[in-house]
Assembly symmetry: C2
């Protein structure tokens, strides 16, 4: 990927002031609702996330386990997935749109085209003849604040594939969840971050989030959880 | 409530091995599903929780906001509440039982009767002629682990009124959620605790929970959240 000095970005200024130098490669991005047909891609993305986090020993999801538990309720009522797609071509309008959500599109100017080594594995089923690739996802679901007396959204996972990072796509996905929360009158969006992940913390704080320092997660799982199964039979 | 020596508890042991020494006052406890008719009591309990946590400045829930957001889905699909009731009398069987949950009852022997200063405010609507008082609640909802590929439960609030604490009722409520998770084949029960609350941490660890030290909660709320509402209009 060694290259000469990168070209200037294709800003509106390029229209009124034509610039003879090459102006890079735009990429079109879309955030849309995930559906059951996305499960094979979602499974691959979760596995990549486990590899990235060095937690493959905790990874036991299968396409079957995801299929039986995701997409069983209407979007936003329970577990909900937004899929991030990228394409070299603009996205056509979605017909019919979902009553609660319209896909969000964005044109991202890039200095260099993205070299995606996994093109074939992540081609979108919903590409409609366009060269559409799945680049990431966010999984979220309603939570509840008793103090506010209303719901919010909890973001369980946010993931962008390696070659698409540092281009604003993570922010696009998280902003889509925040915008949906506002649209639905919800009071909060929450997620967790590892305390040593200073880059992520900086990114979240720049998005307006507060990091709560005093709270710790408690988890009952495995055999310790199973022990409660016999208590009230 | 000063009284002569209380009668022995009606345990089977009292029948076969009568004990002449006074052994206290039993209380019968029941964990049942909350319903919309419990909202006024739930609102009072949440307010007491805010007072206990010295967070009344964050308390803005109203009976109306709770009514419009709780009990809008079947139990366990979204926000779900278990109510803890206490009574000096045994609870009759519930007819008809819920297909996914049967109330859990327990007899708790006590050395001294409980003096409840808020009897009138917390008399259960579902008492059925018995002297049933609402003593606490737990609010929880499904969360999702992408690594496990299956749901769990997240416990948002667990609260027992002051005069009923240190008698095992908190454990009874949390155990009921854990037992329900096992029954439904879920993988985890999670909640949060303040890092300085060593008594709570000890209690949770004794119940088998692990406290995750590295994770921090990120929260986007208030004006910082509202700012995202204009992004995609």
């Amino acid at each position: 990927m060694a290259a000469a000095a990168p070209p200037p970005p294709p800003t509106p200024a390029a229209i009124t002031l034509p610039d003879p130098t090459p102006t890079g490669q735009p990429v079109f991005a879309r955030v849309r609702l995930g559906t059951a047909s996305d499960v094979p891609h979602i499974h691959k993305l979760i596995h990549q996330m486990a590899v990235f986090e060095r937690l493959t020993h905790l990874f036991s999801a299968t396409e079957a386990s995801l299929s039986s538990t995701l997409f069983t309720s209407p979007p936003f009522q329970s577990f909900t997935i937004f899929i991030l797609e990228v394409s070299p071509n603009p996205f056509p309008p979605t017909i019919p749109p979902h009553p609660l959500f319209s896909p969000i599109t964005q044109m991202v100017p890039l200095d260099l085209p993205i070299d995606d080594p996994e093109k074939e594995a992540f081609r979108s089923h919903n590409s409609g003849g366009l060269d559409v690739l799945i680049a990431g996802f966010v999984l979220f679901f309603p939570n509840f604040s008793t103090f506010l007396g209303k719901p919010g959204f909890y973001v369980e996972d946010l993931f962008v594939r390696d070659c698409y990072r540092r281009k604003g796509f993570g922010k696009m996905l998280l902003s889509a969840v925040a915008a949906q929360a506002v649209k639905m009158g919800y009071g909060r969006v929450e997620w967790v971050v590892l305390d040593w992940n200073v880059n992520a913390i900086k990114f979240y704080e720049e998005m307006g989030a507060k990091v709560l320092q005093e709270w710790r997660i408690c988890r009952l799982t495995g055999e310790a959880l199973q022990a409660y199964g016999n208590a009230h039979n």
